[in-house]
Amino acid sequence: MKVIIGQGSCGIATGAKKTQAEFEAQIAAKGVNVEIDFTGCVGTCYLEPIVDVYEDNGDMTRYVKVQPDRVERIVEEHLVGGKVVEEYAIAPEDQQFLDKQQRVVLRHCGLINPEKIEEYLAVGGYEATQRVVTSMTQDEVIEEIKVSGLRGRGGAGFPTWFKWNAAKGNPGKNKYIVCNADEGDPGAFMDRSVLEGDPHSLIEGMIIGGFAMGATEGVIYCRAEYPLAIKRLEIAMAQAREKGFLGKDIFGSGYDFDLRIKAGAGAFVCGEETALIASLEGERGMPRLKPPFPAAKGYWQQPTNINNVETFANVAWIINNGGAAFGAMGTQQSKGTKVFALAGKIKKGGLVEVPMGLALKDVIFGIGGGIKQDKQFKAVQMGGPSGGCIPADLIETPVTYEDINKTGAIVGSGGMIVMDEDTCMVDMARYFLDFTRKESCGKCNYCRIGTKRMLEILERITRGEGQDGDIELLEELAAKIKDGSMCGLGQTAPNPVLTTIRYFRNEYEDHIYNHTCTAKSCKELISYEITDKCVGCTACSRKCPVGAISGEVKGQHVIDKEKCIKCGKCLETCKFGAIVKK
């Protein structure tokens, strides 16, 4: 028997280490012969900590939300008594979350121990690498990727084969293959999951890509906020080196290739290729004009190819199963599967991998289970700070690069932040503008100053000080920032504002002309009132930090709106639902 505990960052955050310690203690106390191991993130983050119990015949029972207090019963009844504790096992509707997916990128996540290369080898690991370096030509590899239709999963969706081919065709003394693991989009975490749960699939993808373009060195640019990912990558690289999969003469093919990690230092703009290269060279991560493209002059002026983690994680699967099998999934233009990070006001948050072309509705409601507390679905934000908000009436939109672009958002790296009736769309636009303003490198005036001006206008609107003409001014600035910026950050920074104006103009108008926040979220535009449900318990008046609530015991209380600082403490305190936000 074997007990496997999910230990991605999210599992650990919910207490997986404590759960493991409790298992170790209980198993030792009961004297049962059970092996304990761990794995990466299975993707059902909302059910963490997750524990899988494998019988000797291979049957598996998955237990969810296993806090230490649930361990004793599992050990006693299941590990000792041989009887599944149904109460703690995954419910059928949660199992659906996984069953409805089709996993290519996440094929091993949550199944293997990411720190043991033997487990990766046991599921066919490095077979693709061996085949490529010993029996395929560079052109054959590129052709296979071309057939698959794989496009960059980092945001732009550029065909992968084209980039590899360009880097291959350009002359250079040394060529470099770089992995962008600087997952900077707030709200996207699929790359972290692959790095933590299946680092060897990334390494394989890089060896194969390196071989195809003729690189002998690879660099993984990983964000410093992911310490666990860096640790597991280092372990995986050392193991691969020991087995001879990295280094000189891989599989006796004569091909030399090695990898190293470079920890990023926190700059969103480094997702832009030329900025990333500047950062790799130890400089400020500022983009430069293209051409020359990195495929011609990149890292140290040599031909360089940069792909994202998820893109690389597809490569070994494509070699093993054939490009045609990959291309058979998805749609004509957007082939294969894509991982989405479901978060926000969603019932079942986590990682979802589905064939491209599925409708947004099927992802959010079919797999994600809909909105928390069954509130009204308002919009889904896709593409992070470069993307936009897609409103509820476009929920049938198929998730493909083309269809999502038409809405004004982008597929981007695959973050899906779900919003409900309580989310203010003007505030969301303000939030993203605040982000891009901070992250602008400052090279282009329009991006540096324009985003700041747009932010000021949005702040004014959310404070209730919006003026007639603000919406038009935002639109004008947005157009100029798009035109006047050199890189993707500036060119896309206005998107969150433009899409919210396009679909939620009424909310902007409510703020500006009626001084009300439709979602009752902007502090300056709401007020608290006590209704006749008040029983006069005085709880709220005692909690109010500014003494704005007065009233007799057992009599209806009132809030002095002049004094009220809108902290919401009264609303939280009231047990009778007598306080309302207006």
């Binding site: 975490f189 920890a263 978060a343």
Partner: protein, 170 residues
């Protein structure tokens, strides 16, 4: 300006002896500045002017340029931090799930704002972009010599309780 300006002497060698192995390995390797700064910050907790000058001397990169790189990236700090670094996630999922309320609670409890350190030198608060634990939003990570600990599904009460427990232990 400190009298012992180290850009013109080696009297600070002793002071920076923990950094020596790092400089030996990376000082002359092109493109290593960020790596050196990261290691220096790991050792000293922040990048002081003296540290920057010392790195400049070892690498031959001008202090102004090092300062430029250090201020470009969110990771680098030019001021010392508390024993516990609170990295409060302000990513999109956390924002939608009320990270601003959590920030208010932390600020109120500790009496500091983003980027500041408590008077007892115990806590520093930093708002960060995204910790990648979006399904557990709102989230924070607390870094200390004991390692990194991530806390999810935060509420006002929960975050205050966590900080109170750390304060008690320390």
């Amino acid at each position: 300006m400190s009298e012992k300006c180290c850009c013109c002497g080696t009297q600070n060698k002793e002071q920076f002896k923990e950094l020596e192995p790092v400089l030996e390995k990376y000082a002359k390797v092109p493109g290593s500045l960020i790596t050196i700064l990261q290691k220096a910050q790991d050792i000293y907790g922040y990048l002081s002017i003296d540290t920057i000058n010392h790195i400049s001397e070892a690498t031959g990169i001008k202090p102004a340029k090092i300062y430029g790189v250090a201020t470009f990236y969110a990771q680098f700090r030019l001021q010392p931090i508390g024993k516990y670094l609170i990295m409060l996630c302000q990513g999109t999922a956390c924002h939608v799930n009320g990270s601003e309320i959590i920030e208010e609670a932390v600020c109120e409890y500790l009496g500091i704002q983003d980027g500041e350190t408590t008077e007892d030198g115990l806590f520093t608060l930093n708002n960060v972009a995204c910790l990648g634990c979006c399904s557990l939003a709102p989230v924070m990570m607390i870094q200390s010599a004991d390692g990194d600990e991530t806390y999810g599904n935060l509420t006002k009460d929960k975050v205050v309780q966590i900080l109170a427990e750390i304060r008690e232990r320390a």
